[in-house]
């Protein structure tokens, strides 16, 4: 079975996000970019399934600018076998990505797609679900455990109030939650090997997908600054403020 893992290039989770002065978006010039952490978990899960003999090939796919190659190399340094870059400078929204992935799925015919549940930049949490819908495949989102036996998929999901276990036929789409696994560190030999693994470059046009944005961003603002705290003189004063100012009791 082939597993397809979409990986997104996002601003590194350690970077302090700055809004552009004109409010048109977030400043990404000279900012460190990395693989979306949920996608790392997806890559890790796919590699584990390969190591367990369930999967035969892990293909990473990234949609976006040319530098997404670095993200693909990172996935291959973890253990993915090859990469596909769908290259475009157009700002990509979840629906466009889902359509691109659908086209790649039709080309590659994987038995399973493992995606991150969301990307830490826009936190949209849509692409995996849209992809499953477009393909007409079953989906299991927010996976915290994945088991494949006899062509069937058992996925444990984290839901409000507990765990839900689903059984799905293959092919299917899974999205990963934080506790699914701990991604491995790329080792030096694997980083060197990744350099020699192939990356195919495609374009939205070649895949016949229109990626024109459907949503327009009107304005991006910094979150409101936290106000300085106040020292209260007594418990009574605290209760008074909680009741009348904060209105929480």
């Amino acid at each position: 079975m082939k597993i397809l893992v979409p990986v997104k290039r996002v601003v590194d989770y350690n970077v302090k996000i700055r809004v552009k002065p004109d409010g048109s978006g977030v400043d990404t010039a000279n900012v460190k970019m990395s693989m979306n952490p949920f996608d790392e978990i997806a890559v890790e899960e796919a590699i584990r399934l390969k190591e367990a003999g369930v999967a035969s090939e892990v293909v990473a796919v990234s949609c976006g600018v040319a530098q997404c190659q670095e993200t693909l190399r990172a996935a291959m340094a973890m253990g993915a076998d090859r990469g596909i870059l769908v290259q475009t400078d157009v700002e990509l929204q979840p629906l466009a990505v889902a359509k691109l992935l659908k086209a790649v799925v039709e080309k590659e015919q994987p038995g399973l797609v493992i995606a991150g549940k969301q990307a830490i930049d826009d936190d949209a949490n849509q692409t995996g679900q849209m992809l499953a819908a477009l393909l007409g495949w079953p989906q299991a989102t927010f996976a915290s455990k994945v088991v494949v036996t006899d062509g069937k998929l058992t996925v444990t999901r984290e839901v409000d109030g507990g765990l839900e276990t689903l059984e799905l036929p293959l092919p299917a789409v899974i999205t990963t939650d934080l506790r699914l696994n701990e991604p491995r560190f790329a080792t030096l030999p694997n980083i060197m090997k990744a350099k020699k693994k192939p990356i195919d470059t495609l374009t939205p046009e070649a895949l016949g997908v229109d990626v024109t944005p459907r949503l327009a961003t009107l304005k991006v603002e910094e979150p409101p600054k936290r106000k300085a705290g106040v020292m209260v003189g007594s418990v009574d004063e605290l209760i008074e403020k909680l009741r009348n100012e904060a209105k929480v009791i």
Binding site: E70, F185, A186, I191
Partner: protein, 382 residues
């Protein structure tokens, strides 16, 4: 360090730096204080360090190594330094001084027997040159090895040996011939040879997590097959080894200097005195930029020298000067960082206090500053 626009680092170098940074932050940093206070760290860390590539890098593939240029070694030393735990760095990577003479001088059988274990992190390699009578004057070392049939019989002692308690293989400088540098050889001595014992050197100023030891050899019989290089030609091997050690040590020192700078900068931004962050007092911000100026100069020297060595040059004088530049920079940065921390910098349990205590070992070990100056001057014909 900040090398994204550097001519020396490829995307693979950067990817490895990235991976190592996370590895150090996960596997070492959270435990650094605890390990230092306990005076040791789990032996398991050697295997983990081997897996990520830190131990096998720069060694031949046939023995389990990963061929890699000097820039990978620099990345290794500097990322490890981010934990601010010099004792862990020193013992974990003691093979960087113990193992190169085995690679250069060991017989094929010896290499096949010991290198795979070392490079996979199963076995620990140490270098033993320094003796109680002195470490700077290597040419006059006293430990004797006398040929007896197909063995050498070793008598004498070594001291200040990093990984001295836990090592499995010791690369030991011995006198096999007459006085001076032309009577010195290197022998590989296994830890369980009868007549070989060791005691721990405890209560050091720094490097607490590192197992430093004194070694004793009493009629210790070592097979002649354990000779590294030719008999009485060991001095050259030792000197070649020092060159690589000094580059590595300089890289680590500048990593520690960088930690001092980053920690001090963070602190200076958060700590307020006289109604302002420390960083907004001119005296303090000037300290910070003076640190950075020295760090950047040292890094540039280090990288340009590494590049020249990669081109096949052997710039011995520059290696000596680089080592001093790196230790003097570390001394300056550690001093200024502790000063910026004020009283908090005097308390154990933070990186800058520990690095402050680890300055001198770098300025003394691997060739003391005075020795470096003199060797550089002689090399330059001054």
């Amino acid at each position: 360090m900040n090398s994204s626009k550097s001519p020396y680092y490829t995307p693979e170098h950067e990817a490895y730096r990235e991976s190592l940074r996370r590895w150090v932050a996960t596997e070492i940093e959270p435990y650094a204080d605890q390990w230092d206070e306990e005076g040791t760290f789990p032996r398991e860390l050697y295997r983990k360090a081997a897996q990520i590539g830190l131990i096998p890098m720069g060694y031949p593939e046939e023995y389990g190594g990963i061929p890699a240029d000097l820039f990978y070694l620099i990345i290794g030393a500097q990322e490890l330094a981010r934990a601010g735990a010099g004792g862990v760095s020193a013992s974990l990577l003691s093979h960087t001084i113990g193992t190169p003479p085995i690679v250069r001088g060991g017989s094929p059988e010896l290499k096949a027997r010991v290198l795979p274990g070392i490079l996979s992190g199963e076995k620990i390699s140490a270098l033993a040159i320094t003796e109680p009578s002195g470490g700077s004057d290597v040419a006059n070392l006293r430990t004797r090895a006398v040929r007896d049939g197909d063995h050498y019989v070793v008598n004498g002692s070594k001291t200040f040996i990093t990984s001295g308690m836990r090592a499995d293989y010791y690369t030991v400088a011995v006198r096999t011939g007459g006085p001076g540098r032309d009577g010195i050889s290197l022998l590989l001595i296994e830890r369980d040879r009868p007549g070989f014992s060791r005691t721990a050197l405890e209560r050091k100023m720094g490097w607490w997590a590192s197992d430093t030891a004194t070694l004793y050899f009493e009629d210790c019989r070592v097979p002649v097959g354990n000779l590294l290089g030719e008999e009485n030609r060991g001095f050259r091997l030792i000197m070649e080894n020092f060159n690589q050690e000094r580059i590595f040590l300089a890289a680590g020192c500048n990593g520690f200097s960088r930690v001092c700078y980053e920690e001090a900068l963070n602190y200076a931004r958060q700590r307020h005195t006289f109604g302002r962050p420390l960083a907004e007092h001119q005296v303090v911000r000037h300290k910070l930029v003076d640190m950075l100026m020295r760090i950047n100069a040292t890094q540039a020297y280090l990288e340009s020298l590494a590049w020249r060595i990669e081109q096949g040059e052997r710039p011995i004088a520059d290696v000596c000067l680089l080592k001093n530049q790196a230790t003097l920079t570390m001394e300056f940065c550690a001093r200024e960082a502790v000063q910026i921390f004020g009283g908090a910098g005097y308390l154990r349990g933070n990186k800058v206090e520990r690095i402050y205590r680890e300055v001198r070992v770098n300025a003394i070990g691997g060739g003391a500053e005075e020795i470096m100056r003199d060797l550089a001057a002689r090399q330059l014909g001054i």
